[in-house]
């Protein structure tokens, strides 16, 4: 069984982004870019499935600018066998990415596609579910545990109030939550090996997909800022403030 793992290149999670003064977006020139952390968990999970013998091949896919190659090389250093880049300079929204991934999935026929539950840039939390719907597949979002059986996957999900377990008919879509696994550190020998792995590049036109954005961003602004309050000297002063100033207790 092949496993497909889509990976997104995003601003590194340690970077605090700044809104551009003309409100056209956030300034991502010269900031560190990394693989979306949830996608990294997806690559790790797929790699573990291969190491256990449950998967035969792990294929990483990325959609976006030419530099997404670096993200794919990272995925291959973790353990993906090869990479596919759908290269475009157009701003890709989740609907368009799901359409591109659908075409790739139809070509590659994976038994499982593991995506991050959300990307930490647009915080959309859509692509996996959209892809599942377009393919007519089952889905388990926010996964904290994945077990494969005969033609099925049993997935534990993080939901409001606790955990739930569902069983999916394969092929299926799984989206990762933080507790699914802890991705390994990539080693230098694996980085070197990843450079020699196969990487194929397509354009959205090659795949016959219209990727034009459906949402127009009119402006991007700073959130209302919250100023620091006061430091109180002791517990008594704190409780006094809460009772008499803030009146919340």
């Amino acid at each position: 069984m092949k496993v497909l793992v889509p990976v997104k290149r995003v601003v590194d999670y340690n970077v605090k982004v700044r809104v551009k003064s003309d409100q056209s977006g956030v300034d991502i020139a010269n900031v560190k870019m990394s693989m979306n952390p949830f996608d990294e968990i997806g690559v790790e999970e797929a790699t573990r499935l291969k190491e256990k013998g449950a998967a035969t091949e792990v294929i990483a896919v990325s959609c976006g600018v030419a530099q997404c190659q670096e993200t794919l090389r990272t995925a291959m250093a973790i353990g993906a066998d090869r990479g596919i880049l759908v290269q475009t300079d157009v701003e890709l929204q989740p609907l368009a990415v799901a359409k591109l991934l659908k075409v790739i999935a139809e070509k590659e026929q994976p038994g499982l596609i593991i995506l991050g539950k959300q990307a930490i840039d647009d915080d959309a939390n859509q692509t996996g579910q959209m892809l599942a719907a377009m393919l007519g597949w089952s889905q388990a979002t926010f996964a904290s545990k994945v077990e494969l059986g005969e033609g099925v996957a049993r997935v534990t999900r993080e939901v409001d109030g606790g955990l739930e377990t569902i069983e999916l008919k394969l092929p299926a879509i799984v989206t990762t939550d933080l507790r699914l696994n802890e991705p390994r550190y990539v080693t230098l020998p694996n980085i070197m090996k990843a450079k020699k792995k196969q990487l194929d590049t397509f354009s959205p036109e090659d795949l016959g997909v219209d990727v034009n954005p459906r949402l127009k961003t009119l402006k991007v602004s700073e959130p209302p800022s919250r100023s620091a309050g006061v430091k109180v000297p002791d517990v008594a002063a704190l409780v006094d403030k809460l009772k008499n100033e803030a009146k919340v207790v």
Partner: protein
């Protein structure tokens, strides 16, 4: 123009999040209908009919909806989608699970986690963990939206909409519900609590986390945790407050032993009053706290309980 709100419920009780979504729907304008897709969920439909601003409740009752499986609920929403200009879900675990399936099948973009309605086609939504607010305009005929509940005050009760039973969409047959482990608690639900007491890595252990119990009891608070505390196994995952966990905006948020990473602040900085207890005077949490107490939490927390 008419808006369909997908009710959030457990087949017995309507969840409070639905009230916030109806409030967002009322800002868009037009008639507001609520869909209750559940199993033996007539009581939920009854509760939904009392929300002010709702003109009709649609009840689709089927065993297929008992556990909220995304594939089945999405089919039900799609069966109705033709009649609406807007379809709104709460941005909760279940809403986020179903909504993109609906959008994809309608071939429209989804607008995630809106916090404000500027016009029927223009909305505000936070991006980059709330470090920027994007104003986006949809060019699609149908707007499929998830609503961040903290962005809208709950709609009032007092309505008297009619309940119409509709035929249920057939089960998709793609997935099966196996089981659920839900922590039983007498405390309020984290997402809608008036007061939240959260612990961070500074708590040191799951055992130590228990010192927050008396404080939460005294304040009638829900318990929360930072990602660091959840990752370390000090607190269950559904307590996580932050960019990728729950977004809360209580009247009072008490952060104990939490340093204040960007992704945590994203989940709580819209709280009305924030209290931080931390022994590190440089902790970023003090940058957003209304009241900061630099102290060892193990002595301060019991003292606060006594003083309240």
């Amino acid at each position: 123009m008419s808006v369909l709100v997908i009710a959030e419920h457990d087949n017995a009780q309507l969840k409070g999040a639905t009230l916030n979504v109806v409030a967002a729907a009322s800002k868009i304008g037009g008639e507001v209908h609520v869909l209750v897709a559940g199993a033996n969920a007539a009581a939920v439909a009854e509760q939904a009919s009392k929300i002010a601003g709702v003109s009709k409740v649609l009840l689709a009752d089927s065993p297929a909806f008992a556990d909220g499986l995304a594939e089945n609920v999405a089919e039900q929403v799609l069966a109705l989608a033709g009649g609406y200009s807007h379809i709104l879900f709460a941005a909760t675990a279940s809403g986020k699970n179903v909504s993109p399936r609906v959008a994809a099948r309608l071939d429209v973009a989804q607008i995630s986690e809106i916090t404000a309605v500027d016009s029927p086609d223009t909305f505000q939504r936070p991006i980059y963990a709330g470090n920027a607010i994007a104003t986006v305009q949809s060019t699609d005929a149908v707007k499929v939206i998830t609503v961040r509940t903290t962005g809208f005050d709950a709609a009032a009760l007092g309505g008297s909409a009619g309940v119409e039973t509709i035929s249920a969409a057939p089960a998709a047959g793609l997935s099966t519900f196996i089981g659920r482990e839900v922590a039983k608690s007498d405390r309020p639900e984290l997402a809608g609590a008036r007061v939240v007491v959260s612990g961070g890595r500074g708590m040191g252990s799951a055992e130590n986390f228990k010192i927050l119990d008396p404080l939460a009891d005294k304040l009638g608070a829900a318990l929360g945790a930072s990602r660091a505390a959840v990752d370390a196994g000090y607190a269950p995952n559904d307590w996580q407050v932050g960019q990728t966990g729950k977004i809360v905006a209580p009247q009072l948020y008490v952060a104990v032993g939490i340093s204040g990473a960007i992704q945590h602040l994203a989940g709580m900085k819209d709280s009305k009053v924030i209290v931080a207890v931390n022994k590190d005077t440089e902790a970023p949490i003090f940058g957003v706290a209304d009241y900061g107490l630099v102290a060892d939490l193990f002595t301060a927390v019991p003292e606060i309980v006594t003083a309240l």
